[in-house]
Amino acid sequence: MTETEPYELRVDGVARKVATSGQGASLATVLRDSLDLPGTKIGCGTGRCGTCAVLLDDVLVASCTVLAADTAGCEVTTVAGLGTASAPGPVQRALVEAGAVQCGYCTPGMVVAITDLLARIPQPTEVEVRFALSGNLCRCTGYGRIIAAVLALAQEYA
């Protein structure tokens, strides 16, 4: 029998200890509220909007549907691990350059999902981009510039 608390996981390359994850809290909630990493957003809380996306041991997941206590010992990559405001990562830079951000609430999940896509498929077609981002809702942009940003970034690496 293993009690839930406390436990350790690595977030963005840093070992973090979680003192408590309450009554079965999600990874998204623990990242935001316990580990002070508010970059990961919570939209729907049901795994359908994608803004809480993180990489869990290099696999794209909706962190609002992942039991935090079950990630003990795992490696988590959040949007905060993929660049900062002063030193944006390539995906973040591509989104800025394409004007692909409006309200920005979907952007953290988009950055993580795009990072996952390009790691798996470095030169995606537009259809592959749309399919890969089909779990990331954006209610502002109409997706056009987001998709253009991904294709432009892939082009840089071609």
Partner: protein, 278 residues
């Protein structure tokens, strides 16, 4: 709350028995959402994803045995080589939820009428269960109607008979990604029996077999070797009979009963058309 991170099936089954009200967590896509929304009360959780016995796919005799932790993403990539499951999996949820959601979870916590169970019903799959009295196998129909299910059961695998006939999965809903079905249709050609097996999802509280339409097809299909042959009229009558023979849909979520029934019939016609295409 106690969270047991089980690493063996025996440990998980023991924990289920010892911790009153314990809930199993596989990928978390249903349980954690229930906890988020306060619709699920779980005094204890038993997590399964660290149990190697629940992973992996292998062939045993004529069966393909898919471990309970097989994800939708793995199925969509062709894992197991079961065409109905390969076609079903990419219609479920988002890419991220397909990475976490599992077959065992669909059976253990699922609503009974979702995508995976609909495909499994048409496949006449068996559910491998580890319970208080040891391991057993339950036909998926009895698992879905709960006559074959006991408290304390842990789904360890799903067994699907391998077949040579074509398999199809069609799903209609309000969008093309991250959507629940208004209706879905799984159709499996059983070459040995000279029949097709057809199951409908999201039209009743569990997935249902379309027995009357299956019988119609058995009487009227011609066969060219392993391929069934039907004209457009038979495919149409097959779908019409599917629609007419469905139980009254008990919910009007996302679509009226009449629309749901109509869509189910259209999907069944389309599935048989594909199964009989040259």
């Amino acid at each position: 709350m106690t969270v047991v991170r089980a690493t063996t099936v025996a440990e998980a089954v023991d924990a289920l028995r010892e911790l009153r009200g314990a809930v199993l967590v596989s990928g978390g896509t249903e349980v954690v959402v229930g906890l988020n929304e306060g619709t699920l009360e779980a005094p204890h959780l038993v997590t399964l994803r660290r149990i190697p016995e629940l992973r992996g796919v292998r062939t045993e005799g004529v069966d393909i045995r898919l471990g309970a932790l097989t994800t939708y993403a793995q199925l969509a990539a062709g894992t197991g080589g079961v065409p109905a499951l390969t076609a079903m999996a990419p219609t479920v949820g988002s890419p991220a939820s397909r990475n976490t959601g599992t077959l065992g979870g669909a059976l253990g916590t699922g609503s009974g009428f979702g995508d995976a169970v609909t495909a499994l019903l048409a496949l006449e799959a068996e559910v491998e269960v580890e319970g208080a009295a040891g391991p057993r196998r339950v036909p998926v129909a009895q698992w879905l109607d709960r006559t074959g299910r006991d408290a304390g059961d842990l789904v360890t695998a799903v067994r699907v008979p391998s077949g040579t006939g074509s398999q199809h999965y069609l799903k209609a809903g309000e969008r093309q990604a991250v959507f629940y079905a208004i209706a879905s249709c799984a159709l499996v050609v059983d070459v040995a029996a000279r029949r097709v097996r057809c199951a409908l999802g999201s039209v009743a509280v569990t997935a249902v077999r379309a027995r009357e339409a299956e019988d119609l097809a058995a009487q009227e299909l011609a066969w060219e070797g392993d391929r069934p042959v039907a004209d457009a009229d038979l495919c149409r009558r097959f779908g019409d009979l599917v629609a007419a023979s469905l139980p009254e849909p008990p919910f009007a979520l996302r679509a009226s009963a009449a629309h749901r029934r109509h869509v189910a019939g259209v999907l069944a016609t389309r599935a048989l058309t594909r199964a009989t295409a040259a």
